[in-house]
Amino acid sequence: MASDKPHQEGPHQEGPDRGLSGLPGGKPKYSAFALARQAMQYHQGWQRAWRDAQPQDEYDVVIIGGGGHGLATAYYLAAVHGVSRVAVVEKGWLGGGNTGRNTTIIRSNYLWDESAAIYEHALKLWEGMSQDLNFNVMFSQRGVLTIAHSEHELREMSRRVHAIRMNGIDSEILGPDEIKKFVPIINTDQTIRYPVMGGFLQKRGGTARHDAVAWGYARAADDLGVDIIQNCEVTGLRRNGRRIVGIETNRGFIKTRKVGCVVAGHSSVVAAMADIRLPVASRPLQALVSEPIKPILDTVIMSNAVHMYISQSDKGEMVLGAGVDKYNSYAQRGSFPVPEHMISAAVELFPVLSRLRMLRHWGGIVDTCPDASPIISKTDVEGLYFNCGWGTGGFKATPGSGHVFADLIANDRPNSIAAPYALDRFQTGLLIDEHGAAGVAH
């Protein structure tokens, strides 16, 4: 009988379960003993977490972009594939772009199999990341609850939940009463403009400390000999025919035969240096935090219909994210109507927030793709690889993205998780339309 057979494993289950145990983390090892020892020495003996590396003449692989994805790629190149000479070049400071600007939400509840494969791969890596890197990334599986505000949205949600569960990923539907019980501060009054009619919850979803992710990868990568070169802006990609031979930077030429480009909002700019065109549009994405308050929300709430998502940081700030701005921009600031719209929705759903003051508000530039799915691909230029198009939702994929991108660069061919994300899908038409799952929450 068919039921006797083992459950057909999806591609996401080829990946590791709960991190990649046995990977080298950074040294010296952080532990309770190290803390006690340092306490005796008035904490004078802590070493810097990574070197301030200067560019060398030549590397095996150069990663452009020192954000989470770029650092993760460099780390897995060194740790998994044994590539010894790797450099990460970053025009600003480490993790200073979208890695430090996102709202830190992690989940893997996407509709299509291809998405389930990569986001669930990432989620499993998140589950073991603090151990893998010997660095506390404060990964907190507090659950991600997506709310529906109409019958139709609820029906569409039900379809998505079934698709997610078919891929072996946890997801469950909640009614308004269950939501009220799960999130006591939410307004479930059915007379408001966008009433809470139901929702679905991924309990394994949650948040992580975004800066710590960059720092943890940087520290562990540095320990394996990866050079992290900050304040180093790429000004050109030098080619010999259709082969990459190096990168021009404001700190001189660096020779290399493999370049991995992970620059989010500036992907089109770097691609143009090699006469490559990408289907991405750079848009501002905005978020804000309130003044810190006592704990009132122990999960993540998202609403696609009203373009709002909210969580509470460990510091007590309410972290709110908005939808993407409607026009292209590289300005790292958005327009006012977008957060205004998001705040009005937040206050209706959570009246308790109405008298909170906002502390900070910022924008980052995200590279949105026509099908709301990323591009992890080789290019026409031999030795030049792109990992971009994560749009509004790249943070959650950081470890999975870095892991499969490192594999692509090391072997010069995509593995089964990365293969569907090749650039040629915009010629074949094999798109991975995730607008429903990726449209808002990040």
Binding site: R277, P279, S329, Y330, A331
Partner: protein, 126 residues
Amino acid sequence: MLLITCPYCGPRDESEFSCGGEAHIARPLAENSLTDAEFADYLFLRDNPKGLFLERWRHAAGCRRWFNMARDTVTHEIVEIYPMGSGPASKAGKAAHAASWRRDTAAEAAAKPAPRKPRAKKDKAS
């Protein structure tokens, strides 16, 4: 926050407008002759410059009419607003139009009607 001067209604708040993305993308007329890669230039690939960008806007909560705008994506400065069906008039706008990779694509070449062939003279004898 942009203050956009609708060519029909005057200066209005950004929230009244919707943005239609890159301007001057002509649909290829003879698309069957294009390869998939060439057609993708028209269908999916969009110019994404850091600097002056020619784009379409619509006064969605006003007169609902479309127009073109030349706007800087770094400073958000609106250099020029000009009507649909025409090209930019400013020097910077013209330069941006000419510099776009789209001008060299097969999709754009296929969007123009083929040059009219001189009509063959009819044979009077037939």
